[in-house]
Each structure stands twice: as C-alpha cells, then as structure tokens.
C-alpha cells in the first residue's frame, strides 16, 4: 500500500513539474498555413499549399499558385515553406491513459476481471494527465482509440483527442465499439517449444456463438424481468450503433470470425491481421477493414519471408483492402506508429497510401471520417506541421500541432528533462 501511495505521489509531483502540457484553449482566431507540402490524407499531395481554418474547422485547402487568400482575415499566418502538413495521426487499439507503467500494477487500468465484459467502458479510466499522451503527440499522434484489454469480450473503446482536461472533454466518439478477442487456433507450448492446435478451440467458438445468440434474443425481446447490463451493452452491435472489433491474426480465424459475425448482420473490423495478406481477396470482397499489427514485428515462422511484416501493408494496398496501422497495445513503442508506415513504404507501400493509413483510412475504419482524417474543407482542423517527412525518423519533427484548431503544447516530460540536463552540462538544446 505504501508503495502505491509513493508511486502516486511521485507521479503527481512529476506531472506538476512539467506544467507545460496544459490543454490548449479553443481556437480564437483564423489561422492560415502557407507554402507547405500538404499531405491531404486521401492520397493527394499539394506541394505548395494554403490551408486555412477557423473555429476548429478547416475552411480552405488549396494550391498556393492558384488560390489567393486575404491575409488580413487571419489572426495568424504560418509560413511553412519547405515543411510538411499532415492530418493528425490516429492511434487505434491503444492503452494510452489506461496504463502508465507496464510493470507497476497500480498504474494499470486496462484489464478487468472476467472473460465477457461488454459493459466495461475504457473511457472512464482514461487519465488525461498521463505523461504518455504528450510524448506521443510530439510525433504526430493527435487522436487515439482507447481499448480495454483481456478476456473474450474486453469491453468498449472510445476515440479520444489527445489534449483534454478530463475524459469527458477528451472523448471524440464515445463507447464506439466492442472488442472481441477471438480464440487462438494454434497455441505455443513452452515445454515442447512447438505450436499446435488449441484443443479447446471449437468449444470456445461455441461459447461465443451461444453468447451472441443469447444477447441477440435479449435485445430482440422488449420486456425483461431484470435488466442484464452486459446484454444491454451488446445492443449497439445489433443495431449498428457500435462497431465490432475482432482481435485476431490467423488466416483461419480471420475468415471464420468474419463469416461468423456476418450471421448476426455485423460487419467487423479486424485488429491484428498478421495473416491478412493471404486472405486479402476475401477481406476486399466482404468489405472488412484491417487495423494492422506493427510492421516492426517478426515473421510468423522461420519459413516465412524475412520481410513479411514489413510488406504486409503493401500487399493489402495492392489488393484494395482498407487498412490502418496500430501498435498492438504497446504504450512504450506507440510513438513509433508513423514509422511503421514509413518502414512499409520501404517495402512497397505507396507513400501517400501510407499517410492515408495513418489518417483518413483509419478514420474511415473507426467511423469518424466525416469530420476527421484528411485536410478537407469542413473537417476538423486537427493537423500538424513537421519540419520534413513525418514518416521518416530524421525529419519527423513537429513544429506546431492543432486539435480542432487549438494549438496544443508539443512539450512533454522528456523534453523537459532534456532541457534540464542540457543546461546542467551547458549543452545547446537541439530538439
């Protein structure tokens, strides 16, 4: 108990000492960004662009050589010549704000007890004062999908903006989906060091089937003697107001799970999708999108092509499957999300398709593309300016970022420590 208190105090103090990360006030004046290479998010690029936004919404996006604006109308004009503008990157399947330090259980709030928890809501545990978000923002991540972990049905996720005073402020799309962790068909055994069939697989599928059938029956029946909170939570799946995210990787389980939920009239999103490249036609045909596992992952077997995870995205693109990237619940690596896309470009993915995967396509998959995901008139002014190519390590340097027009702080605890110790040694600070 003592150690928990100590940890808590420490975190509190640490937070207070880096007060630069104060949430931004609403946009108060119209802003124009001039001369940047604009990565629209839909595959298009405007190399010398004008982007304007006001009241949190984009008001104009055009080519500076043809579009003229009245500069006096703008409270702020940013000269971004030679720089790059991107829609804010979206980090799906994240534990940001739920887990602060992986190894310290007192800071973990992502995994509830029990196996079937559709009623569990991630958003209520989302800690806007976590030091993880400011760090991730600095690399261009401006929104995230906060997802509960564990069990068979983990609960409900919410999409949040990564700059907020509290979770209510943060929520962008509340309780938008339910996460089903499909059973593994193959299992690894430490003792034999081999992968073999999960003997309980069929039983586990049956359990899901029964549960879905019961939930459906509950939802269809209007009068209940007692209210079942879990089934109530499932309602949204059947009436289409909530998405179903199926976490699964194996070639068999991807197709099986898609066809399985189709019986209930549900079109799922696959999270993981290690083997998705092998069933790309099926996914395309059934219009099932993928939130792809890290490119920075191992090939599944020693026989696999050594560059398999690097090139999976390119293979999906070629097949016309809608996909985005996610970081497999790994908070400590999440800031490297943009470089999963970058690395995939090295292995055949079209560069602007890689940007789309981080922005518009993920927005489409999450159902927020009407207002987010691309630099288009009427959409949220959630975007950032990078010194250079934001998919490359050397040039992913954010100069300024906006979430719904609010200019957010790009400072974080790590930069604070960098400054502190650079001063100690008398080094010049070079961020």
């Amino acid at each position: 108990m003592k150690s928990i208190i100590k940890t808590f105090l420490f975190l509190l103090l640490a937070t207070l000492s880096f007060a630069q990360e104060t949430p931004a006030p609403p946009q108060s004046k119209a802003i124009a960004i001039m001369g940047a290479t604009a990565h629209i998010g839909n595959g298009k690029v405007i190399s010398n662009s004008i982007i304007t936004f006001d009241n949190g919404k984009i008001t104009n996006v055009g080519d500076a050589s043809t579009v003229r604006i009245d500069q006096s109308q703008f409270g702020k004009i940013i000269d971004a010549s030679g720089k790059h503008v991107y829609p804010g990157f979206i980090a799906p399947n994240s534990q940001m704000g739920l887990v602060e330090i992986g190894a310290v259980s007192a800071t973990r709030d992502a995994r509830e007890l029990g196996s079937v928890n559709p009623n569990i809501r991630a958003i209520v545990a989302y800690n806007t004062d976590s030091q993880v978000m400011p760090v991730n923002r600095s690399n261009g991540l401006l929104l995230a999908q906060i997802v509960p972990q564990g069990g068979r049905i983990s609960g409900q996720s919410t999409i949040v903006e990564l700059d907020a005073w509290n979770w209510e402020d943060a929520a962008y799309k509340l309780d938008e989906g339910i996460h089903l962790r499909w059973p593994s068909i193959m299992r690894w055994s430490w003792q034999t060091r081999s992968v073999s069939k999960n003997k309980n697989y069929d039983k586990q599928i049956k359990e899901i089937e029964d549960y879905m059938a019961e939930a459906k029956a509950y939802v269809d029946n209007k009068s209940h003697s007692s209210k079942n909170l879990k089934f109530e939570a499932m309602k949204g799946l059947f009436n289409g107001s909530k998405k179903l995210y199926i976490h699964t990787d194996n070639i068999k389980t991807i197709t099986q799970s898609v066809l399985f939920v189709k019986k209930f009239g549900i079109k799922p999103v696959i999270i993981g999708g290690r083997d998705s490249w092998m069933v790309a036609d099926f996914l395309k045909e059934n219009n099932v999108p993928i939130l792809l596992s890290k490119a920075h992952d191992m090939p599944p077997t020693q026989d696999s092509d050594i560059d398999q995870p690097f090139k999976t995205a390119a293979m999906l693109q070629k097949a016309g499957v809608l996909f985005g990237f996610q970081m497999d619940d790994a908070p400590m690596q999440e800031r490297n999300l943009p470089f999963q896309a970058g690395h995939s470009v090295g292995f055949g993915l079209d560069k602007e398709a890689a940007v789309s995967a981080l922005t518009l396509n993920t927005a489409k998959i999450l159902g927020i593309d009407k207002t987010l995901g691309s630099l288009e008139k009427g959409k949220d002014a959630t975007l950032f300016i990078s010194t250079g190519d934001a998919l490359d390590y050397r040039t992913n340097k954010l100069e300024v970022a906006f979430i719904r027009g609010k200019e957010i702080s790009l400072d974080n605890k790590q930069k604070g420590l960098y400054r502190k110790y650079s001063k100690k040694y008398g080094h010049e600070i070079q961020e």
Partner: protein, 1008 residues
C-alpha cells in the same frame, strides 16, 4: 521333418519344465535334489554370423554350460548333444545388445521442487542427506548394479526383439553414476549381472533434482567444469580437508567410459568441447539429428549410441495447417532414417539403441528403414553386436559367437534385415526363449471330413473352409497346436447351430480323428483323410499381390525417390553450399567510412582476402566480383552491443547472486533464424549477453553472424572477454512476490559487489598455495580485476550507476559499458570521468518504474558529454532495423547523421574492444560491410547485401531465390507426406516450432 519336430518338442518341454541355472556352483542353498545339466546343444546346418562380418554357411554352433563351445563348418559334435537341425533354412546371429537402457533399475524419486514450473522459489543446496555433492543433480556415487533387479516382463520385451544383453542405468541427473551390463535372462541377479560397473553416465538434464542450480544449459556446463576441477583438487589435497563421497566417486568412475546423453546435435559439440578441456572423450547418446552437423561431429572423434526414433509424418492436407509446419521438421522426417548411414559413411563408430521407442518392435521396422536409406546391413549388425560390446568392455563375453563367450544368440527365419524375417528363438545364457516355432504347423491340403454319416469336402489354405459347391464355402473355425485340433462350423449356410469337433492329428498329418457333438448335442466320431494338395489358383495369387502392392509401392518410393539436401543450418533459409570468400570491388557508392574521411561520395571499396584492401576512386580489382553501388550507400556492418539471439536453453543462470562462472560462449546456437533475419538488417556482429537476473551475471560471447557456420566458427576471433552485470529491479526482483534471494534492495546490490570483489582479491592472494581450490566464479572476477574481462552492466537509474562506478573505483576495476542506461544522461559527466561507455535503448520507456525518467535524448546528451555512446537492441526484432534506431539520435537531439550512425557501428566496436578489426571502413579492417539501397538512416533504406570477412552472407536478390527454393521444397515434402498418409503411413497432427526470443529477464528453468 518329423525328426526335427520331435526334437523341437522335446526341447520345448525340457525348457518349460526345468528352468534351473545351467551353470554350476552358486552360493544359494537348494530346496531339493541338485539337477545340474550339461546344456549341450548343437545347431547344425545353419547360416551363422560368428561375428558381424564373418558369415559361415552350412555351419554348426555347439553350446555347453551356457557358453559357446565351438562354431564352424567342420565341427565334431560332442557326444550327448541335443542336435537341432536348422536344415540350411535358418540363420544364427550373436545375441543383440542395447547399451542404453534403464532396464531393472528403479526410477529416481522425484525431489520436491521449491515450487512449480515458473517458480521463483530457490533451493540453494542439495537436500540429499550425507557427505554428498552440494548439487543434487550430481550423483556419481550411484551404482546401477547395486539397485538392479530382474524384471522379466521388461526383459521379455527386449528378448522378443532378439536382444540378450543391455547396459542399464538410472536415467536421472547430470551425473547419473555408473551403468551396469546385464543379460536378459530370468535367473537370479547374480548370474544376470555380467559386468558391475561399465560406464559413467552423464547428461545436461537435471532430472528429478529440485535444486535451482543449474537453471540453464550454460550453468550445467560450468557445473561440470567446476566438478572436474573439484575432483582433481579433492584427489590431490581436498580429501584432507573434507570427505566428499560424490567427489571420491567421481574420481573412481573417471577411468570408465564416459557416456553423455544429449538433447541435440549442438549439445554434442558443446559437451565434446568441454570434455576436451579436461581430457575426456565422451561416447554420446545422440538424438538422431547428427547428420545435420556431421563434419563438426566427426571432428570431435566421438563414438555414438544412436536411437532409431524417426518422426512421424504430419497431416498437411490442410494447406493452412501446413503453414505452421516448418520445412526443417518436414526435411527431418524425410532424412532422419538416413542418420545412421551418414555416420557410417563418415566413419563414426556407433551402437544402435531401442531407447526412446514407444514399442521395441519399432526398432526392427526402423532399422530396415535406415538400411533402405543407405545403412549397410553389416554396419547395422555391427551396431547391435560388436560395437556395443566393445564400447562397454564386454566383448570378451558377448558381441560375437567366439568360443568361450556367453551362449547368447538368436535363430531367425532368414536374414534378420529382410522384410519378413522372424526371430524363432532367442537364447540367453544358453537358455532358450522360444518366440516362433521353427516350423509353422501347416495343414494345407484337400481333405474329406466324415462326421457321423455326413462327408464334407475340407480345404485348408491359410484358412479352413468346407466346400459345399463352387459358389458356397463355409468357414471352419479351428485351433491346431502340438497335435491337438478342434474344429467348429455350421454344416450349411442356413444352419445357425454348429458342429463341434475335437481330436488329434497323426504325426504324418494324413489322418485326423476324434469325437464331437452334433447339432442335437449327441456325441459322434469324426475323421479327416488327406486327399492331396490344394490346387493353386492363379487369380488368387494375383489378388494377393495386388493387395500387398500398395505397401510395396510405398517401400519402393522410399528407396528410389530423391531426398532433399542437408541445409546449414538445417532449416528454411539455410544453404546447401557453403558461402565462400571472394574479392569484391564495390564501385561508385556513398561510403560511410566512420574515419576522418567521413562520408565519401562516389567512392570505391575493395575487399580482398576478407579484409578491406583499398578505399578510393577508380579502384581496380584482380579478378573477383565488381558490384555497381551507384545510388547506394556502403557502410561498416552494424554491431549490436546487446543481443540475446543465437543462445540455446537459457539466457539467465538466475540461481545465485553471482554466476560469473557461466558463459554464453558455451551455448552459442548457430541454428537460429534470427541470425539470417538480422543479416538482412545489416547486422554483422552481435554481443550475446547473459540476462539481467543477478548482480554478477555470466560471461558473454561476441559472434559474427556467419549464417550456417558451426557455433565455434561464429565466434569473433581474438575478441576480449566480457561479462554481464546488472542493477536495479531485475536483480532485486521487485516484480516477484516472495523473493528469497539476496539482494532485494539497491543497498544489497552494492554489498554483493563489495563482497565478491573483496573475496576475489583474497582468493587471488591465496592462489597457487598448496591445496588451494580453483573456483571458476572467483577466477572470472579476478579476470575483471586484471582488466582481462570487461563489464557490460544492465542499469537504469542514476543512483545505481553512480554506485557501481564508486565501488569500481574503490576496489580497482572499471565498468566498461553501462547497457540500457536510460538515466545515463543524468550522470553522463561522471560516466565520462570513469571512462564508462553508454549503450542505450534509443527510445524505450514506460515499461517499468525504473525507466520513468527514460528519455530518447539520452544518447545525444551522453555523446555530447563525452561518453562513448551507442544504441543496442536487446531484442531480436529491433536488431533487424538498428539503422533506424540510430536515426533516432538525429530525431532526438539532432546529432549529425555520421555521428548517429556510429552509435550502431564504430561506437559499439570500441565498447567491445574490437574496433581494430571492425566498425569502420578502413584499410586492413575486416571486410564486414553493408550495401544499402538508400541513406542507412532513412526509414526507407534496405540492406541489399551484407558481407562478413569478404563473404557475402546476405543478398536481397538472392533471398528471392531462397524463397522460391523454400516453397518448392515445402511443396515437394507436403506432397510426399500426403502420399505417405494415403499409403497408410503413420501421420500425426500438424505442429509448428518456434524459437523463443530471449530477453534480459527470461529466467525459466531450462534444465529439466
């Protein structure tokens, strides 16, 4: 015919009723009248293998008193011998010997472990009471013969398969004590034991010992090394200080053959290397995968005991399931039966064992398979007679049929290795064990059967039938044994009741007769009279052939069809032709020299004899290969300062606060796919570290990623020694409940160092004095004090970093490298002053409390503060893209690209004290270079070619061909497995394999 049968019958009766020992003079009182016999038999007209390679046709074997009396063609049969005429139909072999068995020796009792499989509890000392070894897995004092009892049921299982002697032992522990040689008779142990102490049995498996140490293979190896030294010390001086039954026993058994049980081919090489250090040549009990490293195994000069356990095919009809099945497993399925022939061809001496087979009868099935795969029959016979007898020092008693040896032999229907061979009799110690009658009772023919007033036409041909007419035949159930016969049948198709007859068959088999009950229950007489032979029906024969055809076809396939090549290493992406050194001229590339020339545009680099021989413009090469590097970047190979790939069975020896004695260099795993994967990321050298389980961990190994080479060939020649230290949460075990190992705070961690270094100095002061015991732990720590071994210390927070430097300053050693070092930036000035390098994660954070202040600017700050700085992986996946990790030093802290790239090349080379050989492109350094498609710090860059010592180990274009080869070979083997299944071959479920990717904090016990 008649005569033999009678004699044969007499013999059976004789043996059945009188099972007294044939040898005279035992120490036991006799209950009854003494009944000594001569045991004199003559087996005439036989094909006799006197030895495995001396076959005598038409020969006679005479045995007497349980011993071979004489063998040959012109033998005079002693008077009074019972003569068994084998009519030139039967073959006699010396009794077979299995020299790897646990027959008749009780299993070791399971010690209670401190807790379950993933337990954190510790048992530091042996729980065995008495003056025995401190380690419970060392039991050289165990004597199998003292515990041996006859187990006739188990013996019969061996005898049924022709074995008459086994070497047996208790299969438990690292030292298992001595084995003993026994015959498989059913007499008292006093005559069954033929040699009490045969060999000292060893293994790398802890078995039932619940003691924590050793918890890794490298721990097991160093325990052996320490024990060899302790035993010598004990012999010379130690016995005056203490009495130690185990060490005394170790010395006693050291003159016996040393037999080592291993888990795979690499353990053979490891144990052989270890044995060589102490002048011990082991005999290895192999696993059947020796062919995968046959040259290295041959070079050990070892002899072998080989199992004949071959893997089953897998069910790969479902292409999705088949994806999980590795090429390596499929290839092994195909090639395993050829293992014995590979050893035979290499001139390696081996015995064969039934050990590991589910059914002993599979031994014969599999030995025949091995013969089909190239093993000669002579070699096979040698491996179950001559060789095991020689290896066990019992050739004076068994292993051939020379006069005076035990009368252990088998009589077989034909060549024992032919498909239908049967063993008729297995004689052990001159006593028969009858398995199959020498003559099958054969009643084939046409007969008339009269029952009362009825007459039936009876036909016997395999089955017995009554022929009513051409189309109607009735089955007759019958039982015929030793002249007695019973028959039962229904006399017509419609009839449900049956006739039951019983009686005798005359010796000439012409007439049978007796009494039986009719359908109404009344008794009647019956007779059968022979009419003649059965007419052969050609059609039936054809049918039979067809029926057997399937199996025959499959056998044919096995011998005719091409089999795949052996790959090095034996897995997908392994090569069949060893890559060789070449002269390479890389032209017109952007060359990152890491020297004062900096980054040269449009430059050439020439590699000759494995070394960089020129850097400049318009270079010319004499011969060799020219590579156009236009638009590409050439850099020194990446050096991963912190890696845990290519390690077998355990990265941590977790069990003590110091395990300085263990070494990763003893367990380098050349067969790890990550080697190839990392070559594809431009890595050429890796520092393989012990984990971070204890303040003083084990020694590390520096390897070059020479894919496909043997473990010893992978090692970086003349690299200095390193050792892993660790601080913080892992060593104090903060994330465990109930840790009972000191230390459990950072305060305690300091004291471990003070304690060990203080004791190491005292140790050194006493070294060389009479009776001083060599302690490998202390020896290693003294290497640190003598600056012969350098420290890489796992560390995170500033307090502990500072602490270790202060302790080091005080006690006179230096911390070479702080690895992970995520708070290095806080004490970078102090590190620079101490001269410690910092090998950091580029941007890891948020995973544990001690990294709460981890910042990605760490590298830049340390570098600017004058600390030799690098980035490492500690992760098999990240090491595939360390060039990208280097780019993070540009992103976070704005280092120049040139300096950033040194973080993963020259700087780690300096940390590892190998910068005179690698780390930059400089004339005279090793030809370890990487050709990149782009600036290596670009996220879009790919390593196109990777060279080590002027050998091209990776080529991205060539990799496309390798993929095709893998696909083709997989497809061939999948088809073969499916055909095997369709042909009725044994098939198991599809299974995959996966190498565990070690991290610093993996600590499961790997020694069970």
């Amino acid at each position: 015919m008649n005569k033999t049968n009678q004699q044969f019958t007499v013999l059976i009766l004789f043996c059945f009723f009188f099972s007294l020992s044939l040898t005279a003079q035992v120490t036991f009182p006799q209950n009854g009248v003494y009944d000594e016999r001569d045991g004199l038999y003559a087996f005439t007209n036989a094909t006799i293998y006197k030895t495995y390679n001396e076959k005598i046709e038409n020969a006679t074997l005479v045995i007497k008193d349980g011993k071979v009396h004489s063998v040959g063609t012109s033998i005079s049969i002693p008077e009074g011998a019972i003569i068994i005429d084998l009519k030139n139909e039967k073959t006699i072999y010396p009794g077979f010997i299995d020299m790897y068995s646990a027959y008749g020796v009780p299993e070791a009792e399971k010690g209670e472990r401190a807790a379950g499989f993933f337990s954190r509890g510790q048992q530091k000392l042996s729980k065995k009471e008495g003056a025995y070894s401190w380690n419970q897995a060392l039991k050289p004092e165990f004597r199998a013969h003292e515990h041996f009892t006859v187990d006739d049921k188990a013996a019969k299982d061996y005898r049924d398969n022709g074995f008459s002697a086994v070497m047996t032992h208790q299969e438990d522990g690292l030292s298992r004590g001595t084995s003993t040689m026994v015959t498989l008779g059913d007499d008292r142990e006093h005559t069954i034991l033929i040699k009490e102490e045969v060999a000292h049995m060893l293994s790398f498996k802890k078995g039932t010992s619940p003691q924590s140490y050793p918890g890794s293979l490298m721990g097991g190896i160093s325990l052996f090394k320490q024990t060899y030294m302790d035993a010598k010390w004990y012999k010379d001086h130690g016995h005056k200080n203490e009495k130690n039954i185990s060490l005394a026993a170790w010395n006693e058994v050291s003159s016996l053959p040393q037999i080592f049980d291993v888990r795979d081919r690499l353990e053979i090489l490891r144990a052989a290397k270890m044995g060589k250090e102490f002048g011990v040549q082991y005999i290895f009990k192999g696993t059947g995968d020796e062919y995968k490293r046959i040259n290295e195994i041959k070079a050990t000069g070892s002899k072998f005991i080989l199992p004949l356990k071959f893997p089953d095919a897998m069910d790969v009809e479902d292409p999705y399931d088949a994806m999980a099945v590795s090429l390596a497993d499929m290839k092994h399925w195909e090639l395993a039966p050829s293992n014995p022939s590979h050893l035979a061809k290499a001139g390696i001496s081996f015995a064969l064992t039934t050990h590991g087979l589910k059914k002993k009868s599979d031994f014969w099935k599999n030995i025949k398979k091995a013969i089909k795969h190239g093993l000669s029959e002579e070699a096979a016979l040698k491996a179950i007679t001559h060789t095991p007898a020689k290896m066990t020092g019992t050739y004076d008693m068994i292993g051939s049929l020379d006069a005076g040896k035990l009368a252990n032999f088998v009589i077989t229907s034909e060549n024992i290795f032919s498909e239908k061979a049967k063993i008729h009799q297995n004689w052990v110690n001159g006593k028969i064990h009858d398995l199959k009658p020498l003559e099958e009772p054969n009643l084939d023919g046409n007969y008339d059967l009269k029952v009362g007033s009825q007459t039936f036409k009876l036909i016997v041909e395999d089955k017995m039938k009554i022929e009513i007419n051409d189309s109607t035949k009735l089955d007759v159930k019958h039982n015929y044994s030793k002249g007695l016969i019973t028959l039962s049948f229904s006399p017509s198709k419609e009839e449900t009741k049956i006739l039951r007859l019983s009686g005798t068959v005359n010796n000439d088999k012409q007439k049978w007769s007796g009494k039986g009950t009719q359908l109404d229950g009344s008794w009647t007489s019956w007779t059968v009279t022979r009419k003649g032979d059965v007419e052969k029906d050609d059609k039936d024969e054809d049918d039979k052939k067809n029926k057997k055809g399937k199996k025959g076809k499959e056998d044919k396939m096995a011998s005719d069809e091409k089999v795949g090549e052996v790959l090095y290493p034996f897995m997908a992406h392994g090569w069949s032709e060893r890559p060789s050194q070449n002269t390479y001229l890389i032209r017109n590339a952007t060359v990152w020299t890491n020297e004062k020339d900096g980054i040269l545009k449009n430059a050439d680099v020439l590699i000759v004899d494995g070394k960089i021989s020129a850097v400049g413009n318009n270079l010319k090469a004499k011969g060799g290969k020219t590579i156009d590097g236009t638009g590409m970047h050439l850099t020194p190979g990446i050096i991963d300062e912190h890696s845990h790939i290519a390690i077998s069975r355990g990265v941590n020896e977790c069990t003590q606060e110091s395990t300085a004695e263990v070494s990763i260099s003893d367990v380098v795993d050349s067969e790890d796919i990550n080697i190839y994967r990392q070559l594809a990321g431009g890595v050429t050298t890796a520092h393989l570290l012990h984990g971070s389980c204890n303040p003083i961990g084990g020694q590390s190994a520096i390897i070059k990623l020479r894919w496909g080479f043997a473990p010893e060939e992978m090692k970086f020649q003349a690299a200095p020694g390193f050792i892993k230290f660790a601080l913080g949460e892992n060593v104090k075990r903060s994330s465990w409940d109930g840790n009972d190992r000191f230390p459990t705070t950072r305060m305690g961690v300091e004291q471990v160092y003070r304690d060990y270094f203080t004791r190491a100095k005292e140790y050194k002061a006493n070294k060389g004095k009479t009776g001083h015991r060599i302690d490998l732990d202390m020896e290693t720590i003294n290497e640190i004090l003598d600056n012969k071994r350098h420290i890489s210390c796992h560390s995170y927070v500033q307090s502990e970093i500072n602490m270790l430097m202060k302790v080091a300053d005080e006690l006179g050693f230096k911390v070479n490298t702080f690895t992970h070092i995520l708070e290095g930036y806080k004490v970078a000035d102090k590190m620079a002053e101490h001269g410690a390098a910092g090998s950091s994660f580029a941007d890891w954070w948020a995973y544990k409390y001690e990294v709460i202040h981890a910042i990605p600017y760490n590298g830049a700050i340390m570098h600017r503060a004058g600390v030799l700085t690098g980035f490492n992986s500690d992760d098999a996946e990240m090491a595939r893209r360390l060039n990208q990790e280097a780019a993070k030093a540009v992103k976070y802290g704005n280092l120049s690209e040139e300096e950033a790239f040194k973080f993963v090349t020259l700087n780690p080379a300096k940390m590892l004290h190998i910068d005179d050989k690698v780390g930059s492109i400089k004339i005279g350094k090793d030809g370890d270079v990487v050709l990149w498609s782009d600036n290596p710090l670009s996220v879009y860059a790919k390593a196109e070619m990777t060279f080590i010592d002027g050998i091209k180990f990776f080529d991205r274009k060539e990799d496309l061909n390798i993929r095709k080869d893998i696909q083709d070979e997989r497809s061939r083997l999948i088809q073969k497995m499916i055909a095997h299944k369709k042909g009725g071959g044994k098939t198991g479920p599809a299974k995959g394999r996966m190498k565990h990717h070690y991290h610093c904090d993996d600590m499961e016990d790997e020694m069970h």
